[in-house]
């Protein structure tokens, strides 16, 4: 069947107008309108994204999002206030947040997917909270404890959990790779970063031996910082493109497959030009930059239909609605994936 590329019909100028008015309203209302602004932003991205002649939609209820934001704000304020005065209580609150976090992530996935639709059919998430604790808490802790060596494995498991438990209509998504496939791009990154770090350290040591004047210090610091940013700028597009391609090329939805053809070079040019323009415009270009990046990523993604696309049916529509209402009553926590 014919390859169906994703397209994005939004424009930077159009988005800027929406973004600036919503930002002003959010600030004037001391953040309360921000929940409505978020819904509008998501709807802008979803409704301007289309594939196979139809676009997506987002149905999140701003009130549920507002509740989630208030709770997140309270937790954060509590944590930063107490950790200044009494680090022991601060650590306790941090541990509490960590204990609750996987539950929040699973909730948030359900909310996000249930409120996304394509051609009028909703997505859904069927992941269980128990497995969520293993995937979102234990694995990242293990990765951290192993100084990052287990992180590619954790990333692969997280991706697998999310995709294998996501559904469109009555069909489940599926994701198949071996953990080894994730290790390759990460190893390239770790190796290059090692080389950069060795370079930076030798520059730092050499400069501290030569100069003793305090006036040189900011220049050396500045140079090191620029060097570090340059390294990030080279490494980040590489790993983003490799991982996005790996993930989408191995994702299937029933008989349908996906194809992602991002290149590190292409992504680098978009990101580098974005950063330069954001700096030159003292930050005003940022909404345009976000749209540019999203368009680039979307337009290199395509759907390879294996059968008639119209044959999807609403999956367990009745159950979905009931769960949906329960989820919509609870809060949505802003967790970006």
């Amino acid at each position: 069947m014919l390859r169906q590329p994703f397209t994005f019909s939004g424009s930077g100028g159009e988005y800027f107008r929406i973004w600036i008015v919503n930002l002003l309203l959010s600030i004037i209302t001391l953040g309360i309108y921000s929940a409505w602004a978020k819904v509008r932003r998501m709807q802008y991205f979803y409704r301007h994204t289309s594939v196979a002649g139809a676009s997506f939609d987002y149905h999140g209820d701003p009130k549920a999002i507002l509740k989630g934001r208030i709770i997140a704000f309270v937790l954060f304020a509590l944590y930063s206030a107490t950790s200044h005065f009494n680090p022991v209580i601060g650590v306790g609150i941090f541990a509490l947040i960590m204990a609750v976090m996987p539950w929040l992530v699973v909730r948030s996935l359900r909310f996000r997917l249930h409120n996304s639709s394509y051609r009028g059919l909703r997505f859904s998430s069927v992941g269980k909270v128990g497995e969520g604790y293993l995937i979102f808490l234990l694995l990242p802790i293990a990765a951290y404890a192993s100084l990052g060596l287990l992180w590619p494995l954790a990333h692969q498991q997280i991706t697998r959990y999310i995709r294998n438990h996501s559904r469109y209509g009555n069909e489940l998504f599926s994701f198949h790779t071996k953990a080894g496939a994730f290790y390759r791009p990460y190893l390239v990154v770790m190796f290059s970063m090692l080389i950069f770090v060795v370079g930076m350290v030798s520059v730092a040591v050499a400069s501290s031996v030569k100069t003793s004047s305090a006036a040189m210090a900011p220049f050396v610091m500045g140079a090191l910082l620029m060097f570090y940013l340059l390294m990030l700028l080279l490494v980040y597009p590489y790993i983003t493109s490799r991982l996005q391609n790996l993930i989408w090329n191995n994702t299937t939805l029933g008989p349908h497959r996906f194809e992602s053809a991002l290149t590190a070079r292409g992504l680098f040019w978009v990101m580098a030009s974005n950063i330069v323009l954001v700096i030159l415009t003292v930050g005003l270009f940022k909404p345009f930059a976000d749209i540019r990046l999203l368009r680039y990523k979307l337009e290199h993604l395509a759907l390879l239909p294996g059968a008639d696309l119209e044959d999807f049916l609403a999956g367990q529509q009745v159950t979905a609605t009931a769960t949906g209402e329960e989820v919509a009553e609870m809060f949505d926590v802003d967790i970006a994936f």
């Binding site: 019909s9 107008r17 509008r40 139809a54 939609d57 005065f85 680090p87 009028g120 049916l313 609403a314």
Partner: protein, 337 residues
């Protein structure tokens, strides 16, 4: 009037071509194989989002998408429905630019006045016992490592302390909680105030001074910091600036946010230093001590720390510095009598 639309029934992903019209408060949708009528009051018509197709969401999960905005507007008029205010604001560049100007104004005003005022109010409300705990943490961390016990005789320490306690303070000033003497070859001649009201005096600055008035000048400056709770306010203000910066720039790179954050934070620092100098000048004058004494010791400190600054010019590094240029401070102090 009939307008063309795409109809999705919410049960399958199939797209149906349809014609819409409005009659007597009802929306009629006609497709090839069926027709439906819905009361306009049960129908949800979301606000437009840029040039994305206009949507009509029906109560049972079905939806219509209309690409022709003009035709849709006519339909809305026939139905007697008015467009949303927010969408109207987002649509025209004139409003977007007005919003931009207002936003920049609000942000500048918050940075210069709003945040410092809020931090001041909060800092003065925090109970003394709580912040004294922060001081103790700091001292526990640095005592016997960075700060060594003082080698001054107890008579000398007593003399300085009693002269300090005997000083007449400006109206409403908070006296220091306690005065501690330490020695630090690493830090050299220095004296500083901790957030909770502890003032630490180092042996090296006592040695550097020619008379007790100079020490009192420096201590008066530090007491200015304590009385106005500068350290606490700086902590609050810096956290908010860092938070806002990370939110805005953070998804590009949290390191990129560092430079503008530091630049903004040091301005607050310099304001506090000027304020402490003014407090010191007021205190010295109240006690009939010439303010030039403080200028004298500042000059000596400059030489002791080996920093040579070009006199008279505003060096660009000053904007990175947490203190106003020393000769600016010295001039201000000598100017007053």
């Amino acid at each position: 009037m009939d307008i063309p639309a795409a109809y999705y029934d919410g049960r399958t992903a199939r797209r149906h071509d349809a014609q819409l019209c409005v009659e007597h408060g009802k929306l009629r949708i006609m497709t090839a194989d069926r027709q439906r009528e819905d009361d306009l009051r049960t129908v949800n018509i979301p606000a437009p989002l840029g040039n994305a197709p206009r949507l009509i969401m029906l109560a049972d999960g079905a939806r219509c998408e209309v690409a022709d905005h003009a035709a849709f507007a006519t339909l809305m008029q026939e139905a007697g429905l008015r467009p949303s205010i927010v969408a109207h604001l987002e649509h025209r560049w004139r409003y977007a630019l007005t919003a931009l100007v207002m936003l920049l104004g609000i942000i500048a005003a918050s940075y210069v006045w709003g945040l410092p005022y809020a931090a001041k109010v909060v800092a003065h409300r925090i109970p003394d016992k709580l912040i004294l705990a922060i001081d103790q943490q700091f001292l526990d961390a640095v005592d016997d490592k960075l700060l060594l016990p003082s080698k001054l005789s107890s008579a000398r320490q007593f003399a300085i302390t009693s002269r300090l306690r005997a000083l007449q303070m400006p109206a409403g000033a908070r006296p220091p909680a306690r005065i501690l003497f330490r020695s630090s070859p690493k830090l050299g001649p220095n004296a500083f105030a901790l957030p909770g009201g502890t003032v630490v005096v180092l042996d090296e600055i006592v040695k550097l001074s020619d008379n007790d008035d100079e020490i009192l000048g420096v201590l008066a400056h530090e007491m200015g910091h304590v009385s106005e709770r500068h350290a606490l306010r700086q902590m609050l203000q810096a956290s908010v600036v860092a938070l806002v910066m990370t939110w805005y720039v953070g998804d590009i790179s949290s390191i990129l946010a560092l430079a503008p954050t530091t630049l903004l934070e040091t301005r607050y620092s310099r304001e506090f230093e000027r304020s402490a100098d003014a407090f010191a000048a007021e205190t010295l004058t109240l006690n009939h001590i010439p303010t030039s004494r403080l200028a004298d010791i500042l000059e000596k400190l400059e030489h002791a720390h080996g920093v040579k600054q070009p006199t008279g010019q505003q060096h660009w590094l000053d904007y990175l510095s947490s203190h106003p240029a020393t000769d600016e401070r010295i001039k201000a102090l000598r100017g007053q009598r």
